[in-house]
Point group: D2
Chain length 351, copies 4
Amino acid sequence: MNDRYPTAATQSRGDFRSDNVARVEPSIMAALLAANTGTQPPYGADEYSTLLDARFSALFEAPCRVFPVATGTAANALALAACLRSYGGVFCHEGAHIRLSEGGAVTAFSAGGSLLPLKGEGGMFDARELAAGFDAAGIGNTQRAQPDAVSVTQVTERGRVYAPAAIAGIGAFAREKGLHFHMDGARFANALARLGCGPAEITTKLGVDILSFGATKNGAMSADAIVVFKPELVEPLRFLLRRAGQTWSKMRFAAAQLLAYVEDGLWLKLAAQANANATGLSQGLAAIPGVELLEQVDANIVFARLPPVTIDRMIERNFHFYRRAPDTIRLVCRYDAPVEAIDGLLEAARG
Amino acid sequence: MNDRYPTAATQSRGDFRSDNVARVEPSIMAALLAANTGTQPPYGADEYSTLLDARFSALFEAPCRVFPVATGTAANALALAACLRSYGGVFCHEGAHIRLSEGGAVTAFSAGGSLLPLKGEGGMFDARELAAGFDAAGIGNTQRAQPDAVSVTQVTERGRVYAPAAIAGIGAFAREKGLHFHMDGARFANALARLGCGPAEITTKLGVDILSFGATKNGAMSADAIVVFKPELVEPLRFLLRRAGQTWSKMRFAAAQLLAYVEDGLWLKLAAQANANATGLSQGLAAIPGVELLEQVDANIVFARLPPVTIDRMIERNFHFYRRAPDTIRLVCRYDAPVEAIDGLLEAARG
Amino acid sequence: MNDRYPTAATQSRGDFRSDNVARVEPSIMAALLAANTGTQPPYGADEYSTLLDARFSALFEAPCRVFPVATGTAANALALAACLRSYGGVFCHEGAHIRLSEGGAVTAFSAGGSLLPLKGEGGMFDARELAAGFDAAGIGNTQRAQPDAVSVTQVTERGRVYAPAAIAGIGAFAREKGLHFHMDGARFANALARLGCGPAEITTKLGVDILSFGATKNGAMSADAIVVFKPELVEPLRFLLRRAGQTWSKMRFAAAQLLAYVEDGLWLKLAAQANANATGLSQGLAAIPGVELLEQVDANIVFARLPPVTIDRMIERNFHFYRRAPDTIRLVCRYDAPVEAIDGLLEAARG
Amino acid sequence: MNDRYPTAATQSRGDFRSDNVARVEPSIMAALLAANTGTQPPYGADEYSTLLDARFSALFEAPCRVFPVATGTAANALALAACLRSYGGVFCHEGAHIRLSEGGAVTAFSAGGSLLPLKGEGGMFDARELAAGFDAAGIGNTQRAQPDAVSVTQVTERGRVYAPAAIAGIGAFAREKGLHFHMDGARFANALARLGCGPAEITTKLGVDILSFGATKNGAMSADAIVVFKPELVEPLRFLLRRAGQTWSKMRFAAAQLLAYVEDGLWLKLAAQANANATGLSQGLAAIPGVELLEQVDANIVFARLPPVTIDRMIERNFHFYRRAPDTIRLVCRYDAPVEAIDGLLEAARG
């Protein structure tokens, strides 16, 4: 059932495998308890879900619909399935999670849609690279998938954060060519925390049509969501969600999590803490001779090259992370990573 | 977002629309809190998920794998997708939820699989009706879907409970013909409570290969599960789940719900209470002149015919239920339906 | 490989199994020979294919695009796939070929689309039955397939021919509700021959948007076609055809068949002959005591009830047809059925 | 309708765009005429289709089933759909026709299957490259497509011919890992003509399980076929073919083409002529200063680099071919390319 992490390790001295190993933030748990009174109509007709649309429309400074789903894969694949014709395709980075790590979900839910890979540093591409991909795609050629959408990951799979200007460029190109613009925001809050701007500044104001809004990696229990800004995508999405088994009967408990998550800036506080944890960790690593950071640390993910024996030692000391090559590791800092874990890992790295 | 219940009504005097309007049972909520400590590996490699397999294998007196999913639709459609070839079909009752109420999910996840409807009283069919359907299916005829599976709903959509002998007959036929045997157990506990037998007595001992195990309608928050008894179905299911976006990252919180649900017979107590509520309600209704019960009340669902003016009055008095025709209603009793709600509804029915 | 006809019988005294057991009409074969000179660009860019659009636009008195395909199943399924959303459905008669005899092709090519069955005598439904189906379909209900199209079969599977007024009624309803209107014209010429009207009178003038144009059953070799009258359906169809492997490289040989087929009214002459054969056969049968015609014979298909021993005798005398029940047969008359075959069959039926 | 060749040009002085611009070889056309007598049961139950299995089983020195289809895309996609699970993948060259030029047909017919690209010179890969791909594929990882098959193109898209030893290596690896082994033989005869061996020497004796057998590019009208050597693939294929609308009713005319095609070595004579044409053309080109052959010419395809002005001149003189870049062209020689066309093209290339 578990592909990457064959051995469970609950007595870890520090778990940097992903931000999804974390606990539910206590105030989100409290919101679940508070929502557990009285009856509520199912499938999103409850009071909490109704509030959700209003709350997110205010946050994003544009009318939107919010559809909670169980996982980030569901959010991405169903959002894109609403955008793609069966012979359509979505431009994305060649290292995008939707292309490499979701078991073909976009293709399956779109009944044949293709991932059209673009290159670019740090898991990012820009409008120029997108334009080149578009020109090479073969518009009208029935032998080829036809571009319907473009998807960016914010924070990227390499831990980088797109600047608003880059997003604006992509958004302008998408609008010009009639492409839907999707953002995979599995770590959307971490990007906002980094950029110090409001959610609208990197989405609705720049042409994003549909957003995979991640909360699970940043303190929720099981509440990612699809946020739809473009009205024409709502109707197909409703049907795709039902068919996908993503329309929770007790939807109030998904909505309650998301409401608590954005209440009083909780999400941004948690993300800022996770980012700060990563900054501290990366600075500590960079100061160690023989250690090299492989990417600029914009958010809560650190890629580093270390001597294999050093990595072996970190593992022996019961630290957990994802080893991508004998000398390469990925460390993800969650909001509730204890100081001792980070200090301990640095100590182990130092020898 | 809500198909059947256009108006939310939180100040209902009694909500009989479905058992999914209920709260989470407090001890299940407590289990969520208890699971919220430390880190756990994601995607089902956590300690709770590991316990789940062992716990359910004991319950069902046979080795099994348990895969939590977000909804009953996901459980049914993915369980059956693991059973069906793309040109395969599943026998089910013509009124089955998988055929009428899940937006084509079985067909979508199986990439073309068909629902092969059978008739029968009370939402049930028996081995003879199944055999007739099989004989008429056109085995080997490429113009027709090829039978791969049979699915029964226990409790049925009409509120009836299959007797073990009926299940045994279907199981024997399925084994003889090489059909996978699926049970939609959205209200599995209610059936057990009615029959007074153990879970193995109506599943593993009678040839059931794969079970949609419902907990959400009976006190859980968002935890249905696919329970796989036939090992060959595990591998395809793992891939289908990931692709469907049903592999929760924080799976421990799904597992914790399910563990609490079956702990100390909680599930059976809750189901017994729901069934008793329905029995009381139906007896009260049956005693009212002009009211007719349309189905035997085996579990927690009541179908009744009443004069339209009576139904109008019940609605005016702020009771909620599903009106299927001017003179026909469905009432579902949940475990936590208050006595006053039931008494109030009866009073409204009396005039 | 053969589902219905387990035993080949080339020395048949009369073959009434289907009109597709016939030869290619000689002038169509001659057209293939004539097209076999010089080089031609592939995939429909040849001169013959170009002529086809113009020729059919004149025939149907409206601009259209013609896409030859290998089979009637391909024509129907791809035409409808261009009309349906993945959660869409097409109204059709419950006995329609697309629903019962094409191996789920519509559902497969539309990635989940549903067949929404309607009842009606003679394989026909009318606007009122369509309206009732539409009202019951659950528009907006995500649990149900959403109506996108309606399909009629002309000639129907029961050998009946829709009157123009009936088609007009369906077309008007389709337009009102925004449904695409598809006609399965596997035996389109036989319907025209019966009605004595031009092709536009039962298609373009009555709202038909897309037509499966059959020629194979009426003298061609392997040339059915999708004729598209509604421009918005052309683009998706082009992509679906390529993906389906229905875009012939040497398309000129498909186009040449279709051009010869409609040249100088050949198609109507062949169809009139097939219809006349069936009329003669059915009149002969009706005159035999104990024989009952089960449907009005509008075109070239005869359904009859005979004593089982009579049918046994016909089989013993080496006549071939499709026996649907011990006392029920279907006889299809092709354009080139010899007089002796028909007379011989009648003689065998008489005893 | 035509993607690559926007302008038809029937008065070409020489058409080197593809071998599918050719005529039907006269003896194949004669076979169509000869088959046009009497009635035949439909859908492959005819006498010609029956002969086909026996004839090909003899040719390939192993029992096989032959399923004619309309196009090479249909042959490839349906053959592979029979091999792939919905979450499966097929290894192929990164430049394979199935990956780049068939509109996503493999993915569509397999309901989600992936193309797993391998690199290699001349459109070929070897067992070592395949093994590396297999090792990197992530067996058991639900985030990734699972290898089910490997596909080679013989002749490759770059005009190269796999040596039997290379095929043997791939076949051995496939057998070891349980992968189905598919060969795209769109130009299978050209490969045989080059290698001078029998069909079994590069297929059945080396582990090929299923073959796309091309005849259309080498003299047939519309008759490619799937040849199945592995019995377990027959059953799914039958259903997939029907559903795909590839089960011709008048199948005898497909079978008759294929029987004539392999009669008395016709196919090998035609292929040898096409190869010889390409050899002559390529030798002529290579002798021209400033012209460079980009691939070894193993069969009937020539890739060449020429000065752009030279290419412009060839186009002005009304020669037709596919220009892949300003200075790069692909020339395909068909069996019936006239000497004057080849000489004329060389003359134009010389200036």
